[in-house]
Amino acid sequence: MDTLAPLVLLLPLAGFLVNALAGRVLPRRIVGLVGAGSVGLAFVASVAILVQVIGGHRLDQTYFTWWQTVDFNVPFNLYVDPVSTLMILVITGVGFLIHVYSIGYMAEDAGFARFFAYMNLFVFSMLLLVLSGNFVWLIIGWAGVGLSSYLLIGFWYQRPTAVLAARKAFVMNTIGDVGMVFAAFLVFLNLRVLDYNSVFSRIHQLPKGGTIITAICLLLLVGAVAKSAQLPLHTWLPDAMEGPTPVSALIHAATMVTAGVYLVARMHQLYDWAPAAATTVAIVGGVTAFFAATIGTSQVDIKRILAYSTMSQIGYMFLAVGIGAYTAGMFHFMTHAFFKALLFLAAGNVIHAFHDDQDIRHMGNLRAGLPITFWTFLIGTLSISGFPLFAGFFSKDEIIRAALSAAGSEFWLGVLALITAGLTAYYMFRLFFIAFGWEWLSRDERHLHEALPIQTIPVVILAAGAVVAGYIPVANFLQPVFGHAVEVGTGAFIGLAALSVLVALTGFLLAYLLHARRPELALQWRTRIAPLHALVEHKYYVDELYDLVFVRPGFALARFLNTIVEPRVIDGLVNGVASFFVVEAREFRLLQTGRVRSYGFVMLLGALGTVFLVVLFLGYLPVRLGG
């Protein structure tokens, strides 16, 4: 295993180097083969690691020491346990399918090689993030995924909106990076080590629930919130949909945005030791889940709806890891990776069919035109809505059950999660009924073309995953790390499952009534609750608020510095000094007569003056006069 783990890392890195350096001259077939193949081989290696991890093996191997001083060492060590194994399997597995899909989706794009280079760079950074065994390399991977996310959001750099979105994402992620770095500082200052094993074994030296451990966990949470687009650092994710759709599927749905969940799960010893911080995680997650779901009910851009649904689902995962149901959180991460990647890739096929129009109101007739995409999208919708026997049902149910069986404030978060489940079913089926055109099916004249097999086959595989992933015994697999999950009685189990199914069904029926049966009712309701609808449609004006509070004052300050401070104060100082010398030199230049003899005379006077001063101060001439 000590060679397999670096292999998993190095394969995408090699793919990145090949495509970045030689991508321009290689034929597209080779570029695609290298891009997808390197991730595919990494997946094979990950499966080999899985087999060994199931066999009870673990890895914490130091490959080299990056920095070494008297009391500060940064090793490069990889850490393989069930949690990181689950992560690398999803990253390389789902990542491979999305890479294959991209070969078809990006086939016409001029930046084909650049795209695969960035994607491989992302996969490498993400694997580094999850495999790293210490804080320094975690942060390097963390920043690396932020960078590749920035590059891929701004992939179509000719579009001003894409460039703006990329910049927004980068700035927001940097806020998180700063939190991470400060958390690492605090860890090192108090424990003097940075590798996970030592940190976890020494963490109990700190007082439980004390200021330091709480501060560390909250700073880590800042990083997690920024990366996972949770409140209040969520505004970059919907804008990130400017990137190509496979990017949205891989980075902004399946893997990178779940890094925050991984972080909390990886640091669960720390969060168990800081209950206040853990509760904060749960509150952030529960509120974000609800908040994003409400916005999702009013959007009309297919990718933005999916983006808000991603935020909402990650909110569920945060809620789970915040209340200590780490297994449930990781389980939902896995099922979510399947159905959300599926939804995005299917949406990509739809967007292609409608020539890059993303407005769901312009879509329709998809069952006849794009049958594979239609049925797979339906499976994804059923799965995310939590319909029984689909993957999303099992994982989401586990989170709601864990929250509802907790005491105090967490119980109310469970109730919120239950309401959110209904909202999820509503907005997903609203999207489905409007975009996939239930009522136009018979009379739409448009001729739509199903995507190429290279795009539909990955979608079909993901659809299979979205159905069966719920039956994978993730809880047993993760049990050595997190211990046993909270057990509830069979009666309560069935009761809660029935309750959540009922809620999801309500959402479904509401969507069916308002958007398939009687659309005029939806219009009536919209005018009746117009202020509320406007509030939700404008995403609670958070963007406008940030614009007012941060962006505008920032611009004003920059303008002030640019028009007042820079020309007056800075330039004034420099130019003032220069012009002082210019003016003064005009006087002194007159001394330059050009007459050598007068210069000589002055020098002689100076020499005599010096001798005179020496005699004056010493009282005698400092030479020996006598024999």
């Binding site: 230049r589 007159l590 001394l591 330059q592 007569t593 050009g594 007459r595 050598v596 003899r597 000589g600 005379f601 002689l604 030479v623 020996r624 006069l625 006598g626 024999g627």
Partner: protein, 101 residues
């Protein structure tokens, strides 16, 4: 009978004064140049004498430094004078005032 130190210093002072006066009153560049050499060597004489009477080599080392610098200075100075002469300018230091303001 040993020669007292002040005789050398007086000789040095006389030579230096001659050089300085020549530098100030003469206008032929070559003569001005020779006056500078006279002043430098007057100083060298003082260095060498004091070195002998103080039983220290410091003065001699200084004298050698002065000789070296003087040699370099002669090279540059003569070259300038020759160039001025070739340019057909009048050989008068007061007329050579291109560097004035």
């Amino acid at each position: 009978m040993p020669v007292p130190a002040y005789t050398f210093l007086m000789l040095s002072g006389v030579l230096f004064t001659m050089g300085a006066i020549g530098f100030l009153v003469r206008r032929n560049p070559l003569v001005v140049f020779m006056c500078i050499e006279l002043m430098l060597n007057a100083v060298n004489l003082a260095f060498a004498a004091e070195s002998r009477y103080l039983n220290s080599l410091d003065g001699v080392v200084f004298a050698f430094l002065v000789i070296t610098v003087a040699a370099a200075e002669v090279v540059v100075g003569i070259a300038i004078i020759v160039q001025v002469y070739r340019a057909g300018r009048q050989m008068d230091v007061d007329e050579l005032d291109l560097m004035k303001e």
